[in-house]
């Protein structure tokens, strides 16, 4: 049998989309833990935290250690995978064919001219990010901080108003499963993706 827990929290601080709500306030939208990357029953190497707003807005913010994606190309790939790697963002041009999804990620990641520097707000402070826009409604990108990487992908959110904040212990109570605690697959299975 597989040893539980399946999800073991990362050893680093996580980040989430900042909808300007008070910690623990569920009034503006729903938060969830759509995925994490890493070895089973080992501390997660990368954790994605999702947010779904009341008006079709969506955001996924993934935190990883700096050395997990050591170069700019890897980082562009990972940012693009937030959009095309699965279905954590509901989009009009969802690519269900895996070959097309990989091709889209490869094409976007390889085109440095599609990516540009811009600021995103992290904990209220402008921080330089690298980002790109996919069609009208989707933006993805990343921030390389001193000790970690923060990837983001948003749908129907003003690209100039992307805000991210540290996940505090208090904020973590907004999630049905607290990302700072271990969870079994059984518990993870109980949580359905929030609806917009």
């Amino acid at each position: 049998m597989i040893a539980s827990p399946a999800y073991v929290p990362a050893s680093f601080k996580l980040f989430e989309y900042d909808d300007l709500s008070d910690p623990g306030d569920l009034g503006r939208g729903s938060r969830w833990l759509p995925s994490w990357q890493g070895r089973l029953a080992h501390p997660a190497e990368e954790v994605s935290l999702g947010w779904v707003g009341k008006n079709q807005q969506q955001a996924v913010v993934a935190t990883a250690a700096l050395d997990r994606h050591p170069n700019e190309y890897d980082r562009r790939v990972n940012a693009a995978l937030l959009v095309w790697g699965g279905n954590q963002l509901k989009r009009n041009d969802q690519l269900l064919n895996p070959a097309l999804a990989h091709a889209a990620v490869d094409e976007l990641s390889g085109r440095t001219d599609r990516w540009s520097a811009r600021d995103v707000l992290i904990d209220g402070v402008p921080v330089p990010a690298i980002a790109t826009r996919i069609q009208e409604e989707t933006v993805c990108g990343y921030v390389a901080a001193l000790t970690h990487l923060v990837f983001f992908a948003t749908v129907n959110i003003d690209p100039w108003e992307i805000r991210i904040r540290s996940l505090t212990d208090r904020n973590a109570t907004s999630y049905l499963l607290d990302p700072y605690f271990s969870h079994t697959f059984e518990a993870l299975r109980q949580v359905a993706p929030p609806q917009s």
Binding site: P34, A101, H102, V105
Partner: protein
């Protein structure tokens, strides 16, 4: 085309080896004979893309929600009978991890995707990278 065919052929031929390499999967396979017949599984095909950088190979799985609406596990192994993982895979976020093979020459990497309890193999394939 040829490499694709070769890949499929090897994938077919290594299924038994995979069970031998992966104790958990082997146990699960044995247990499933008693508990329930295992559904036939196919090639993972283009759901997984592997890229090599020196001794490291990045494994990226996309659109894995076609296999399961729940979490899954990825079991990689290499041509030298070395196993890695299991790595988590999500129907929402796919899979993305790096294995260090210790060698920089190209070789077959075998991928097996199972359900989260490792009792059902969802797909298996080999990739020459």
């Amino acid at each position: 085309m040829f490499s694709s065919l070769l890949s499929r052929r090897v994938a077919t031929s290594v299924v038994g080896t995979l069970f031998a390499l992966n104790g958990l999967t082997a146990q699960a396979a044995a247990a499933s004979v008693v508990v329930a017949p295992r559904a036939p599984y196919g090639s993972c095909g283009s759901h997984f893309q592997l890229t090599r950088t020196s001794q490291s190979i990045r494994v990226v799985g996309t659109s894995l929600n076609v296999y399961s609406s729940g979490y899954m596990l990825v079991y990689p192994s290499d041509s030298h009978s070395k196993s890695y993982g299991a790595y988590n895979a999500s129907p929402y976020g796919g899979a993305n991890f790096v294995i260090d093979t210790g060698v920089s020459s190209k070789q077959f990497i075998y991928i097996t995707l199972t359900n989260s309890s490792n009792t059902v193999t969802l797909c298996a394939d080999s990739y020459y990278v």
